[in-house]
Amino acid sequence: MKIGVFVCHCGENIGRTVNCPEVSKACASFPGVVHSEDYKYMCSDPGQNLIKQAIREKHLDAVVVGSCSPHMHEKTFRKACASAGINSYMVEIANLREHCSWIHEDINQATKKAIDLMRFAVERVKFNQPLETIKVPVTKRSLVIGGGISGIQAALDIANAGFEVVLVEKEPSIGGHMSQLSETFPTLDCSQCILTPRMVEVYQHPKIKLLSYSEVEHVEGFIGNFKVTIRRKAKSVKEELCTGCGLCAEKCPIKKKALSEFDEGLSNRPAIYVPFPQAVPNVPVIDRSVCTYFKTGKCEMCKKVCGREAIDFTQQDTFVTEDVGSIIVATGYKLYSIDKKPEDSIYKGYGEYGYGKFKNVINGLQFERIASASGPTSGEMLRPSDKTVPKKIVFIQCVGSRDESKGFSYCSKICCMYTAKHAMLYKHKVHDGEAYVFYMDIRSGGKNYEEFVRRAIEEDHVNYIRGRVSRIYEEDGKLIVKGEDTIAGLPVVIEADLVVLATAMIAQQEAPKLAQTLNISYDKYGYFQEAHPKLRPVETNTGGVFLAGACHSPRDIPESVAMGSAAAAKSLVLFGADMLEREPIIAKVDATTCAGCFYCQKVCAYNAIEKKEIRDRLGNLQKVVAFVNSGLCQGCGTCNATCPSKSIELIGFKDDQIFAQINAFAEV
């Protein structure tokens, strides 16, 4: 191998403390070096020309440049060499400036060190291999999972930029939690009024394919090239025929049997239903678990009344596959179940608050429904047990949130604000009522947020008590709320008519499963993990998969919308080019020596290691070995260090390259 060595003075920057001509001379004696020279500014055009000239004249196979940090000019020199016909990965940089001349004073020591650094680079480059940038075609189409406000925003942004979007929503209608809210903080404007136009826009957008009542089943592929299998759950209604007249729901005989999900169980719905009047798409579904026909084989009332013959009891779940280039996950949150026996085994319930036991202990979303004009009480402030107006109401914040003994340590972020809003809405409707709020701290960071809370306290005279509630029990129709006022240092007992718990926002129960489907990571609570907490907040470790909204962490509406737009922007960046270019620094398996222990798979943060069967010509299984999915590998090399037989190597940082450097240490 013929190696050319170039030593840069960087003006005086290197030259002042490193004797560059001497370094160049020393390098000339290294085995393999056929050309060695020094120059004032290697990165300048004349400097680059020197390199190109030497490559052409001396037929160099590899180049070593002693200059500034590779983080500065590695690309420059690689490009120069490539233009002269050397593969750009046959170039090595020795950091003579940041790691040598700038940090040492003694010229002899610095020169000696510079020679050593050059030797390392020369030895290393002998083992470099020509590599090609990995190019991947991009499918310019996006999948958005979740039709809440965040997903809606992301879908609209991408569609408006001219690219197709597949929007998958597991419920019969898009809209998410925002559609359930009465008013929004800090402006107290009506939630549905601002949301509904967006939902309709999604429905009507020619670039958006809306798949409601559907779930992502399986994902394969990698950035730019995902193949997604989606399960379309049987609605039992032919979507293309239904006009959304609502007659079927009206006539359904089992009006009182099913609890309305939309009203958080505070009202009932029929077996065939649309979740709420403004639903998009306005197509009902049959809840087969309660439908008389599906239970007994008799009834068919809905079918009889439907003039369009849209009811189809035989419908089955179907599967569609979609090719997309990016995936935006916007699956949102759910409220922590504070029932006596929570569904999530990792969390403990708040048995002491009697939720689920006392009808008048409700959660925040239920209060939203009570306060909402479209809710079960048509906006009248009536408590669930006896439909009377509560005269004394207690709000408890941080139910679950910031409580490690219940399994959470994080703050749900929005409860301070919505509790203030709840208290305000209550006071506005029940002027003679008393509202108490038990809080730990008030966290009202945000535009006009603190002012909003002050308004609740000062103008609407909501009583804020700093402290926790120890338990609630019911005596004679009143809820006895026992707590502590930590400022007064006294126990507090309030006989309340209604208690509203600001329960924690938690990740969707299916989040870990979806994360596994998408090969992204999630934290111990089930929230999806971003690629970098500061600099890559909407990206995940898996290229091409982005996050939006409360599936990442508790978020309020403006943040969810901003994140939706950010994720859309990230997708659009991806769609900006036809081919995706990636550094070829990825791991590679030697299948002949791999023993299939799959420790590499265990340490891989990107799920880039797959199993591959090796068969002989007759098709008999020889062995199962590891295989690197080059679309997913990010090139950290942890697998390389973990592999006991070194059957997996990181191209570009192969063992022989690093050993060459270490071996050169003997000459230091």
């Binding site: 006596k340 403990k348 319930g349 708040y350 048995g351 002491e352 036991k357 338990r471 029990y473 019911e474 005596e475 006895i480």
Partner: protein, 315 residues
């Protein structure tokens, strides 16, 4: 069935009737109790607030004795003993450094694998069906308020597997022997145990609250499984009566006593005559032909037995 038995100090002192009722009931259920040889303090009294290592080492010593005696299960009827024993066992399992310290102290290797059970668990183990079979006396005429206190269900995760805030395993046992229970709100409210001696006023106030709530929900008797709860609720009623003139006394029984009653075991053997608040009205009610009572406005107050008042005064 053979079972190790760690009575602890209370069952030899203030809670003798707990001890005797328990032995009677288990004899009837064919459970052999083998008392630990040379057992010592469980660490619940002063040790666990003054010396952490002692509070782990003292139970560890007893656990070792049990192991040496070849026992696999150990019954600790006192809730405080139970709590200390399971806590210590857990800590020794998880904290290797502590284990080594304790081993140094005991000059012996600590072994684990012993199952520690409390009164509720042993009944569950025997099987509620078996209790039902043994039932001879109808106790459906009285209503019981099950009081758990703090130690039976704590520390959570390692103690009795029940809801810490709203347990119901005692209710299940009583139901199995045909008893009725009330749904009330003070099952785990503090009885003031830690202040039992020093601040009787606090204890009285707390116990009064517990008793009132039980009575409000129609209870004729409070059932406990902890000597500490018992002494606070039963004995302190004497003073409660003094300070709250309208107080209506209510007998407080150990779960084993009630189970014993249902099995038809002699009242004396069950130690039902040694309560501060007389159990006579209760026993009469069980025997009476009257229909089960709803909450009656005027229940005649059970007279306080004279001998106990004397004792109370002496104490």
């Amino acid at each position: 069935m053979k079972l190790g038995y760690y009575p602890g100090c209370s069952l030899n002192g203030t809670a003798k009737e707990f001890n005797s009722s328990l032995k009677e009931v288990f004899a009837a259920l064919n459970v052999d109790l083998e008392e630990l040889n040379d057992w010592s303090c469980c660490g619940a009294t002063s040790a666990h607030v003054t010396s952490h290592i002692l509070s782990v080492a003292l139970p560890a010593r007893n656990l070792l004795i049990a192991k040496k005696q070849g026992l696999n299960e150990l019954l600790a009827p006192c809730a405080a003993c139970y709590s200390r024993l399971v806590s210590s066992q857990q800590e020794l399992k998880l904290d290797e450094k502590m284990r080594m310290k304790v081993e140094d102290l005991l000059e012996e290797k600590v072994t684990n694998g012993l199952q520690i059970i409390n009164l509720i668990q042993i009944f569950q183990k025997i099987g509620l069906d078996k209790l039902k079979e043994k039932k001879q006396v109808d106790i459906s005429k009285i209503k019981a308020a099950c009081y758990y206190g703090c130690l039976l269900v704590r520390p959570v995760d390692i103690a009795l597997p029940d809801d810490m805030e709203s347990p119901d395993s005692m209710e299940a046992i009583i139901k199995s022997i045909g008893g009725k229970t009330v749904d009330w709100n003070f099952k785990t409210e503090c009885c003031g145990a830690a202040h039992s001696i020093a601040h009787t006023d606090i204890v009285e106030k707390l116990c009064k609250g517990i008793i009132d709530n039980a009575q409000k929900h129609g209870a004729d008797v409070i059932i406990v499984a902890c000597p500490m709860c018992h002494s606070n609720l039963d004995m302190r009623q004497l003073n409660i009566i003094k300070h709250y003139p309208d107080h209506k006394p209510i007998p407080v029984l150990y779960l084993s006593q009630l189970v014993g009653l249902s099995m038809g075991i002699d009242e004396k053997k069950l130690g039902l005559g040694v309560h501060y608040i007389s159990t006579k009205p209760l026993l009469e009610k069980i025997k009476s032909d009257a229909l089960p009572t709803e909450v009656k406005k005027e229940v005649p107050a059970p007279p306080v037995s004279n001998d106990k008042i004397k004792k109370g005064v002496e104490a």
